[in-house]
Amino acid sequence: MKLDSKVPKGPIKDKWTTYKDKINLVNPANKRLIDVIVVGTGLAGGSASATLAELGYNVKAFAYQDSPRRAHSIAAQGGINAAKNYQGDGDSNYRLFYDTVKGGDYRSREANVYRLAEVSANIIDQCVAQGVPFARDYGGLLDNRSFGGVLVSRTFYAKGQTGQQLLLGAYSAMNRQIARGKIEMYNRHEMLDLVVIDGKARGIITRNLITGEVERHSAHAVVIASGGYGNVYFLSTNAMGSNATAAWKVHKKGAFFANPCYTQIHPTCIPRSGDYQSKLTLMSESLRNDGRIWVPKHMKDAKAIQAGKLRPTEILEEDRDYYLERRYPAFGNLVPRDVASRAAKERCDAGYGVNATGEAVYLDFATAIQRYGKEQAKIQGIDNATPEKITQLGEKIVEAKYGNLFQMYEKIVDENPYKTPMMIYPATHYTMGGVWVDYNLMTTIPGCYAIGEANFSDHGANRLGASALMQGLADGYFVLPYTIGDYLSNDIRTGPISTEAPEFEAAEKAVRSRLDFFIKNKGTKSVDHFHKRLGKVMWNNVGMARNEKDLKAAIQEIQQIREEFWKDVTVPGEPNQMNPELEKAGRVADFLELGELFAMDALERTESCGGHFREESVEEDGPQKGEAKRNDEEFTFVSAWEYKGDPKDAVLHKEHLEFNDIELKQRSYK
């Protein structure tokens, strides 16, 4: 099968407009005859559900939580990018496009990213009209902040809770349609398989998580908006329930899975504390606007800190290594996430980590507190302010900017970050890879779409801050509602899809037999036991730095864990009632397959790019010595994997990436 990205012809600036002018439309009376299933209700799924229902389609939306509002988009802190150029700092659609392609290390599809930049401004207009309370300045206009990897201020925000406010906006739009009966909302339901009839996606099999009932749902198209697969690492900043099952099921039914090895390891998370740990907590990237990252310059100091014999505040300024400022003077502490994470790992691997495990670096606000304090003393006309007074004034400013994050840190770590530097370490946060889609956001299964983090589309090998929210809402509000209409225009005479078809029968049977297997297996180890083991292999061998030997070992170990899982897993309770362990068992079974494909993809891509760093592919000399080395000649493609019954038999297809509007360059932040 040849991959066709279906990118429209013509200049990049006109592609989307021309496309919209030419596609087939479905008339309003016919939309009432068409059903669409949306799996997942985060920013992508929520906005898509609401918009499709507004257009007149009959939408069935599914969430595993008890309300669409609880999808993990809710946890996004920092902001959402849009090329509004409200700050007059030279921003434009082209610049947002350029920054995103460069930030993704030239591994994304140009036409998709340009469209994303093009609709970004509409998102902000739409959200304000919905009542999203973005931050404003004293003149009543919208405020912006700056994020890593860019040189303009284009990020809109609502305190440290931007994702929450955007999701509540999409949720409110959904509620309006639920009240009208245009969205049928299925809370506490999990999709467990896709039903394909005559080569087209025509429905799903779900489990009601309260009653355990296995149900059939039919539709003319199925949209997967179920988020990313970061929980393959067990520990991540994802929600506990975040899973890859919906995406993996469509993969197994014929949708190609793209770039599984592209993972974002976020640099500013709270370090792990013990084996009991269930998740990692992210501290917003916005902290890097004022926080300086460092480790001790001398090994003896590092050792003393690790042993608990020395406090960071006791280390003199000249004995500290502000390694990001040292290595990347142009961007300093605001380098992109992949670069910041790798630099932290490099220092910790060299032995300079600053907690007992040696896996932490400092994020220090002392300089910012002094700078703000002096400024405030001047503004308030305090002559000869004492050092204590300056510190007090400065802490007030830092509190106003980051108070909620500082409080969160203190609650978890039990240390006061105003007085002693924060400790941070990278953690799995976002997955750029996902289900392969064409320009229409359709997977390789006709009628099956993937949007938001669930697809692979717009972020290449690394995602810039505040771009995930933008993509989720762009897909759901402004892209899918057009592209899906073009496909559905052929379905106006189809009529309702029957759930009595043999394909539904077979899919339901398979789902039931797997659920029964878990309940009856009565092994000796819990689901979490296997999930933790998988997570450890993924983190150690397929984490921030990868090499051939470790990847090969990982593939073998994952196969081994998977085998043991199927032999020895135990799931207590009954299938026909609420059973959280049964839910987890299915998800972990899928992660155990996905993890292997992930490692295979990482092994195949022998270059370093974005979040995928191969130790064998490093610049060996010149000013970029030690930095990641891309190989554009051999690897300017999307890896799209076809399922063949066992992860090891997956077949690699390549979508060659063309760069006509942006010159391929080394990504330098020096």
């Binding site: 906005s47 609401a50 918009t51 507004e54 008890d66 309300s67 509002r69 993990h72 809710i74 946890a75 509004k84 409200y86 509409n122 207009d125 739409q126 304000v128 009209a129 919905q130 009542g131 309370p133 973005f134 931050a135 404003r136 003149g139 206009l141 609502a158 305190k159 809770q161 406010q165 949720y171 409110s172 739009a173 309006r176 639920i178 009240a179 909302m185 809370n187 309260i210 900043t237 929600a239 506990m240 329930g241 013990g274 084996d275 009991y276 740990q277 269930s278 998740k279 907590t281 409080q407 969160m408 978890i412 509000y477 509602p481 135990t570 207590p572 009632q577 609420m578 959280p580 362990e581």
Partner: protein, 253 residues
């Protein structure tokens, strides 16, 4: 971890389904680190139960960083336990001492029936929002520019403070009347404070309050417990604003 963790007795509400009767059951956990979150302590208990073939305790949780609003435990008689401005998932074991007995119950309110163990059904909140918790604007791509209507920073900030509600239901659980007025007031306030919300304001407040009453939530007697237990510090002012909006709506046809 060294062996000096806490040993605790847990008294937990077990109920197999909404139809079955529930009861308190005692469990012991040992060597609990003070750095654990409360839910990680529950994970330890559940692993222990699975190892002995018992069914683990069902509880709602998801993001484990205090924003999804899923977690909902009533711990030692307090919604989200003995700390302020946090959800259960942000509660840490350092708030407890070795040898403590901890009582863990689900939210108790007739509008929140128990589904299983500590999991309750909060879809009554969903129906209240569906009754009017939105601004009726379609996605079109040609709404007016986001900066076309300036909004004072004060109003925007206040709307944001109301909008931070996570819909967890702690306000209802802690209220002696099981009133949902803090939750509903917060949503009404967010829109009442913004120019975009004005057009539908009278209908919104009438419809949402009517649905709230229909769901069986109680009335407000101004004890203020909801404000104290709210993990996001939503202020009682929002209830006052809701009442004001409701009275106002009677004068608008």
């Amino acid at each position: 971890m060294s062996g000096k963790g806490m040993n605790l007795t847990l008294k937990i509400w077990r109920q197999n389904s909404s139809e079955k009767k529930g009861r308190m059951v005692d469990y012991k956990v040992s060597d609990i680190s003070e750095h654990m979150s409360f839910l990680e302590m529950m994970d330890v208990l559940n692993e222990q139960l699975i190892a002995t073939g018992e069914e683990p305790v069902a509880f709602d949780h998801d993001c484990r960083e205090g924003i999804c609003g899923m977690c909902s435990m009533y711990i030692n008689g307090e919604a989200h336990g003995p700390d302020r401005g946090i959800t259960t998932c942000q509660l840490h074991m350092r708030m407890f001492n070795d040898g403590d007995t901890i009582t863990i119950e689900p939210w108790r309110a007739s509008a929140f029936p128990v589904i299983k163990d500590l999991v309750v059904d909060r879809t009554s909140f969903e129906r209240i929002q569906q009754a009017g918790g939105f601004i009726a604007v379609n996605t079109s791509g040609n709404t007016q520019d986001a900066n076309a209507i300036p909004i004072s920073k004060h109003a925007a900030d206040e709307a944001m403070d109301a909008a931070t509600c996570i819909g967890c239901g702690a306000c209802v659980a802690t209220c002696k009347n099981s009133s949902a007025m803090l939750f509903v007031g917060a949503k009404i306030s967010q829109y009442a404070l913004l120019p975009q919300g004005q057009v539908e304001a009278p209908d919104r407040v009438k419809n949402m309050v009517a649905q709230m009453d229909l769901e069986g939530f109680g009335n407000c007697t101004n004890t203020g417990a909801c404000e104290i237990e709210c993990p996001k510090g939503i202020s009682l002012d929002n209830i006052a604003r809701m009442n004001r909006e409701l009275i106002k709506s009677n004068f608008i046809k």
